[in-house]
Structure formats: structure tokens, C-alpha cells
């Protein structure tokens, strides 16, 4: 007979939750699309002395329980927001400082709109409420750009050997080919990654920004193809109580490429 896990334990296992650090105040770090909690490794050490740091993987990412993944639930960002609320509930967290990268900024915003009681402050790293350009709105992408990304991902998840071979041969009976994925960074199942990419890039959460009541910070890189400056400015302009900091770092992952500058900006906000 299967051992029935306590709901709390099962959530912690499902989302591969790790709690480190010594402080009272809780900081919850939520990774972006295509990554897992290891993407925080360059900055968490700066916070563990003063904060209790909670790290987790979304269902379908990293070392989460892949069997809990369902397209119905995670076909919408709300499904991912539920993961955050579940983690807060399971650990009985209150007044959390939430740090979300990329799509996680919007996932965190959705969670904070629904259950504000869990949150104290929100930090958005490279947020974008909508990636597609729209009338009077610059998201940075046309639909064809995204189709080209999906095509790209299909033929290129973590390098040729780990993607093309199983795609060509059908990897059902070749599990050893799949195991490359779990040993790599950004250990996400390709099917899940494909769906996560779609839900990320086709979502439109512009209307949710105005509903936020929690104080928030937007960290915007000067040069970011994924979330251009105009998008950061849009977030800042449409979110009540939001502070915008432009980082010198380039790219979409300042917490990885310029951890020092990122840490400084977050600490200044806190």
C-alpha cells in the first residue's frame, strides 16, 4: 500500500521545496521559465544570513514531481500561481518577500492579487505582463517570433544529443536518452517546457497589475531582448506602489550574469 503523505509534506515534495538561512523574515524565490531553483545560486548566499530563504521548483520543472503535472492545470499561469500559494500554505508563511524572475514576476503578482495576506513585498526581475506587441503596446515580440522560438525549442531543448535523438527514435523505450535531461541544468521535461513556453509567451496580465496592493520593485536590465525597457516602464506605470530600478546588466538574467548589482538593488528596496 502506498504511504499517504501529509498534505503539507506532499506539497514540499511535489515542488522540491528547500528552506535555508537563519533569519525570521521569509524570502520566497520563484524561478523563471526554462530554469529551476538552481538559477538563484549566485545570489541566495547574500540573503541567508538575515533571511529564511525558501526555494522551490514549479511542477514540471527541476526536481519537482513530474507526475503531478497536468496540462489542464498548468495550461494557465493561475496554475503556477497556485503552486506558490500551496507552498506558502504548506509552510504557514505570512508577510513573505517574494522574488520572481521573468514569468514568475507575473505568477507572483497573480498569487498576490488572489491572497494578499501571504505577501509583504514583491520583487520582479525582468517582468513582462504581455510579450506580444499589441495596439499601443510594445511587448517586444510578434507572433511569428514566438513561433520561431517554439520551433527552435522543439529541435533544440538542451542540445542535439538529448533532443533530436529521442525525437527521431521515439524515446519511449530508451530512457537512458531522457536521463540526460535530469542531469542538466534547467531540468524540465521537453513537453512541459513547450507548454510552459506557450503559456508564458501568450499570456496577457496587463489588467492584473492595477489590482496589486502589495508594494513592489521592478528590476529592469538596460538591454533585454525578452523584456525590453518599454515593458519595464509599462509595469512601473500601471502598478500601484511600484519602484523601477534600471540595472546596467544586460540580458534577461541579471541575477545570474550580474549577481552583485542585483543583490544590491534588492537589498536597497528591502
Amino acid at each position: 500500500m502506498a504511504v499517504q503523505l501529509h498534505p503539507m509534506e506532499s506539497i514540499l515534495k511535489r515542488n522540491n521545496v528547500n528552506v535555508i538561512g537563519n533569519g525570521e523574515q521569509v524570502m520566497l524565490f520563484a524561478h523563471g521559465f526554462g530554469c529551476d531553483q538552481r538559477s538563484w545560486q549566485f545570489i541566495v548566499d547574500a540573503f541567508t544570513e538575515d533571511y529564511r530563504v525558501v526555494l522551490f521548483d514549479y511542477v514540471g520543472s527541476g526536481k519537482s514531481d513530474l507526475s503531478q503535472y497536468s496540462s489542464a492545470k498548468y495550461g494557465k499561469l493561475e496554475g503556477y500561481a497556485q503552486d506558490i500559494l500551496d507552498v506558502c500554505e504548506a509552510l504557514s508563511l505570512r508577510d513573505v518577500i517574494f522574488v520572481g524572475h521573468s514569468v514568475s514576476a507575473m505568477i507572483g503578482a497573480l498569487a498576490a492579487v488572489r491572497e494578499p495576506r501571504y505577501f509583504k513585498k514583491l520583487v520582479f526581475i525582468g517582468p513582462s505582463p504581455r510579450y506580444l506587441n499589441d495596439e499601443g503596446y510594445t511587448g517586444g515580440f510578434e507572433r511569428t517570433d514566438l513561433e520561431s522560438l517554439f520551433e527552435f525549442m522543439d529541435s533544440n531543448y538542451l542540445g542535439w544529443s538529448s533532443t533530436m535523438a529521442p525525437v527521431i527514435m521515439g524515446n519511449a523505450d530508451r530512457p537512458e536518452l531522457g536521463s540526460f535531461l535530469t542531469n542538466s541544468f534547467c531540468a524540465t521535461d521537453p513537453e512541459v517546457a513547450r507548454e510552459f513556453a506557450r503559456v508564458t509567451f501568450f499570456s496577457d496580465n496587463r489588467a492584473d497589475l492595477a489590482k496589486l496592493t502589495i508594494e513592489s520593485l521592478t528590476l529592469q536590465c538596460e538591454e533585454d531582448v525578452i523584456a525590453p525597457l518599454a515593458v519595464g516602464e509599462y509595469v512601473n506605470a500601471h502598478t500601484p506602489n511600484n519602484e523601477l530600478v534600471i540595472l546596467k546588466a544586460t540580458g534577461h538574467c541579471p541575477h545570474i550574469s550580474e549577481p552583485g548589482e542585483t543583490i544590491k538593488a534588492i537589498k536597497a528596496f528591502l
Partner: protein
């Protein structure tokens, strides 16, 4: 080759600078923000750029498609920072003139003492050809999958139960119909399970025959009864053929079970019929032969008063044989679809009246014919007469104590309805649907009646051929009414 000469040669060949620039792959170094600080000639050639156009002027991302750029930002850079290297990413690079070519891309991060990435060294291999083959492989695989699905579809929808076995007879595939017939879960079925479903009387024979064919590797075919999930046995024809490898080894046995239940039952019926028919023919024939023997004995005494009676009886039996043979011939024609109808105008009342003559002469029945004496119909008079005589004969045969037979006809709803009604015992409801079947003989209360059981079948075919309908209304204890119709619009 002399070792010294080789060394000498190598000093000429290995010029690191030449090796770098003329290598059969592209080399590239860029800063963390992507700015290209070193590039070899091979890659420049592929990109159609000069060194001046690229160095410090271009970023790696500039050569990528938009999708590639997103991938580069979201996957490549984090991955490189975390793991220090990336292997075999497949990228599409844009040349100066906007054309794309495919490369396999590997990179190593160069980090400073603080673990900060300060530069990235990359190697690029042109894999445009490989991409092309990958595409072909994918197309081939998709085609194969499609074919497989089609085959599965065919195998599952064919009306037969399909299976394959290993060379020693263990079942390793069954189709959907097979699984459905036996209601097996998961499409797993063992040889033992199959043997269990064979009728007790057929099992031993099948086992022996199958074992023998497995041994000698010859095609196999066997009739047996298989129990379905309702516990009902149905006759099946089991067939199996071996599939050989090029080395004449048996690779698999392919087999099918075809439902031959109806066929088998029809055959049984036919066998029964032949036996009945022979018997029916034998009785008048024996009598006839007996009479001929007697006649032979008395031929010298032609004045014997019994003579004319003997001849009468001989005639009667010969007629009987003639009519039986006639029925058989009729059935033969019907089966072959050769029943011909020659329509002519005739007076229906007169036809019916003629039919009744011989019954009346036997003086057992009173026959009442009701209908318009002037009514003319267009039909095959001979065939219609055949139908009427059959109906009348049946009544005489099965309702001998009826006393009165009523034959009536009337025009109703664009058709002429003719019925022959008796006051006999009636027919049980469950037998009525089979009355017009071929070879059906009513077995009423254990008494045997003469006949081949073909009469009503022939009647039905004749009426159908005229475009009419036929049937029987019967009430137990009250009597039966056999009827048929002829459509007027055909007249």
C-alpha cells in the same frame, strides 16, 4: 615514415595561427554581453563578413534569428553561467546577405577568480547537411508511424480475429476484435487461455493438429468452436501461416479466426435436408418398385382385376416423385436466381377454382372461394397457381380436421390480397417467423409430415418476384390464414 621527417613536417604544418583560422570549424570568442572579440576565418567565410565588420562591432545575438535570441537569453546564458559549458546546441546563423545556415554550437565560459564569466569561447560546426538528414529521418519516422497506425487500424477493424505467435506458438499479438471477442484486458492472451476457450469436443484434435504444424512449419487450418465472453460457442475457421526469415527460420506465425458459424449451421441444415429429401424420394420409389414387381409377375394375366388399381398407384407414386423433383429443381433455380416470371392476364377466380378441384374430389374439405369473379390480374398464372396449391396443401396437411377452407381475395390499398384460411389448430407464435425459411419443416407435436420443407420458401420467392408481400396470421385453437399480395401498380 621516418620519425625525424615527420617531426620536421609537423613544424611546418603546425602554425597555431593558421590552424585557428583555417580550421574546418568556426571559432568565436565573445564577452558576457555577446560582443565578439575574436573570430576565425572559417566562420567569417560562412557569415560572408570581414573581420573588420564583426570584431567589437557585432554581438553573437546579431547573427541569430529572433527565436534563437530568446533561446540564447533564456537558456544559453543561464546554462553557461551555471554549468560553465554548453554542448551541441543547434543554432541557425544569419549571413550578411540574410541567408541562414545551421551550426552545432558548443561553448565554454572563461571565469575570473570570483567565478564571474569574463568571456565565452565557442566552437561552431556547420551541420546544414546533418540538419537535412535529420529532417529526412523525421519525415521517415512520421511516415513509419502513420503506416503503423494505418496497419493497426486495418488489423483492428478487419472482421476476423487476428493474432501472431512466436515460433513455438506463444501468442504475442492479438487485434482489437480478438480482445473484444474474448473480453481480455490489456490485449494479453496466452496459448493456455486460448485452449480453454475451445469447445471440449474440438480441443484435443486442435492441439494435436497445431502441434504437428508447429513442428513441420506448414500452413494450418482447422474448424472449431470458440466460446465468446457471453459463454456462447461459435464456429470459427482457424488459419495460420508461418513467416520465414531469409535463412528459412520461422520468425512468426500469422493467424486468423474467421467466424463461420452461420455457414456451418447452413451446411448442417443442408445435410439434414439431403437426408430428408433422400428419405422422401425413397418412400414413393420403393412403393413404385414394389408395384412394378407385382406388375411384372402378373403381366401374363392382363385380365387381373387389380391391374388398373396397381397402375393407378404406380402413377400416384411417380407423380409424387415428379413433384418432389420439381420442388428440388425450383429451389435450385431460386438459389441460382433464375426464377423466371412470365406475366399474362388471367381471371383470378377461375384460377383459384381450378386449384380447388382436386381437393374437392377427395371430399374431405369444403372450399369456399370469395371474391370478384370478373377480376383480371397480370401475373405468372402458373407460379401463382403453385403458390395457391402450396397454401391449400399445407392447410390440408396441417389442419386435416378443419372441415372448411376459405379462399378469399380482394383489392385493398393498391394491392390484391389473397388468403387461404383454415379452422385448424393454429401455429405457435414462435414458429411463425421461420415458416417461410428454406428447409423449414414444422414439427407439430411429434408427428412427421411428408415434404421437403421447401414449399413456403418457394411461395415466398415467387411472391417476392412479383413485388408482393406474404405472411401468416394464426391463432392457436382457432386457425391460420396464409396470405399473399400482388401489387396493382404492376398490373
Amino acid at each position: 615514415m621516418n620519425r625525424e621527417i615527420a617531426k620536421e613536417l609537423l613544424t611546418h604544418v603546425i602554425d597555431p595561427e593558421v590552424l585557428y583560422h583555417q580550421a574546418p570549424c568556426g571559432y568565436l570568442t565573445f564577452t558576457p554581453d555577446g560582443t565578439i572579440i575574436r573570430i576565425n576565418q572559417t566562420l567569417l567565410n560562412w557569415l560572408d563578413h570581414t573581420e573588420e565588420e564583426v570584431l567589437y562591432e557585432k554581438k553573437f545575438g546579431d547573427f541569430l534569428s529572433k527565436g534563437g535570441q530568446i533561446h540564447y537569453e533564456m537558456f544559453f546564458r543561464p546554462m553557461l553561467n551555471v554549468s560553465g559549458s554548453v554542448k551541441e546546441l543547434s543554432y541557425e546563423l544569419k549571413t550578411k546577405h540574410g541567408a541562414f545556415f545551421h551550426v552545432l554550437f558548443g561553448a565554454v565560459a572563461i571565469k575570473n577568480d570570483q567565478g564571474h564569466v569574463i568571456a565565452v569561447n565557442a566552437i561552431l560546426t556547420d551541420n546544414t547537411d546533418r540538419k537535412h538528414y535529420e529532417k529526412e529521418l523525421l519525415v521517415a519516422r512520421n511516415q513509419a508511424e502513420k503506416d503503423k497506425r494505418n496497419m493497426q487500424f486495418l488489423a483492428d477493424l478487419t472482421p476476423d480475429l487476428i493474432w501472431t505467435t512466436t515460433p513455438d506458438g506463444e501468442i504475442d499479438y492479438i487485434n482489437a476484435r480478438f480482445a473484444n471477442y474474448f473480453q481480455v484486458a490489456g490485449r494479453k492472451f496466452t496459448q493456455e487461455q486460448f485452449l480453454e476457450r475451445i469447445h471440449d469436443d474440438d480441443r484435443a484434435g486442435f492441439k494435436t493438429a497445431w502441434a504437428e504444424k508447429l513442428k513441420c512449419g506448414e500452413p494450418f487450418s482447422y474448424d472449431l468452436r470458440l466460446k465468446n465472453h457471453n459463454g456462447e460457442y461459435r464456429w470459427h475457421l482457424v488459419k495460420s501461416v508461418p513467416h520465414y526469415t531469409d535463412d528459412r527460420e520461422i520468425l512468426k506465425w500469422f493467424g486468423s479466426c474467421t467466424d463461420i458459424n452461420d455457414h456451418k449451421l447452413a451446411l448442417t441444415k443442408k445435410d439434414e435436408f439431403i437426408s430428408v429429401a433422400s428419405h422422401e424420394l425413397k418412400t414413393p420409389l420403393t412403393t413404385l418398385m414394389g408395384i412394378l414387381q407385382v406388375l411384372d409377375r402378373i403381366k401374363s394375366k392382363p385380365a387381373t382385376p387389380m391391374l388398373s388399381e396397381f397402375i393407378d398407384r404406380a402413377n400416384k407414386n411417380a407423380k409424387k416423385i415428379n413433384s418432389l423433383v420439381g420442388e428440388l429443381l425450383n429451389v435450385g433455380q431460386l438459389t441460382a436466381g433464375q426464377l423466371r416470371i412470365n406475366k399474362e392476364w388471367f381471371n383470378l377466380y377461375q384460377l383459384i377454382d381450378n386449384c380447388c378441384q382436386y381437393v374437392r374430389t377427395e371430399d374431405v374439405f369444403e372450399i369456399d372461394v370469395k371474391g370478384d369473379q370478373e377480376l383480371q390480374v397480370l401475373a405468372d398464372a402458373g407460379r401463382i397457381e403453385q403458390v395457391l396449391i402450396n397454401y391449400i396443401n399445407n392447410a390440408v396437411k396441417y389442419a386435416p380436421n378443419s372441415g372448411l377452407l376459405t379462399i378469399s381475395f380482394k383489392v385493398h390499398n393498391e394491392e390484391i390480397m389473397v388468403s387461404v384460411t383454415d379452422n385448424g389448430p393454429g401455429i405457435p407464435a414462435e414458429k411463425i417467423p421461420h415458416l417461410f425459411d428454406r428447409f423449414y419443416r414444422i414439427d407439430s407435436g411429434g408427428s412427421q409430415y411428408a415434404g421437403l420443407g421447401l414449399g413456403l420458401y418457394i411461395c415466398a420467392e415467387i411472391v417476392k418476384k412479383h413485388g408482393g408481400r406474404f405472411g401468416v396470421n394464426s391463432e392457436l385453437g382457432k386457425g391460420s390464414s396464409f396470405w399473399f399480395t400482388l401489387p396493382i401498380k404492376e398490373l
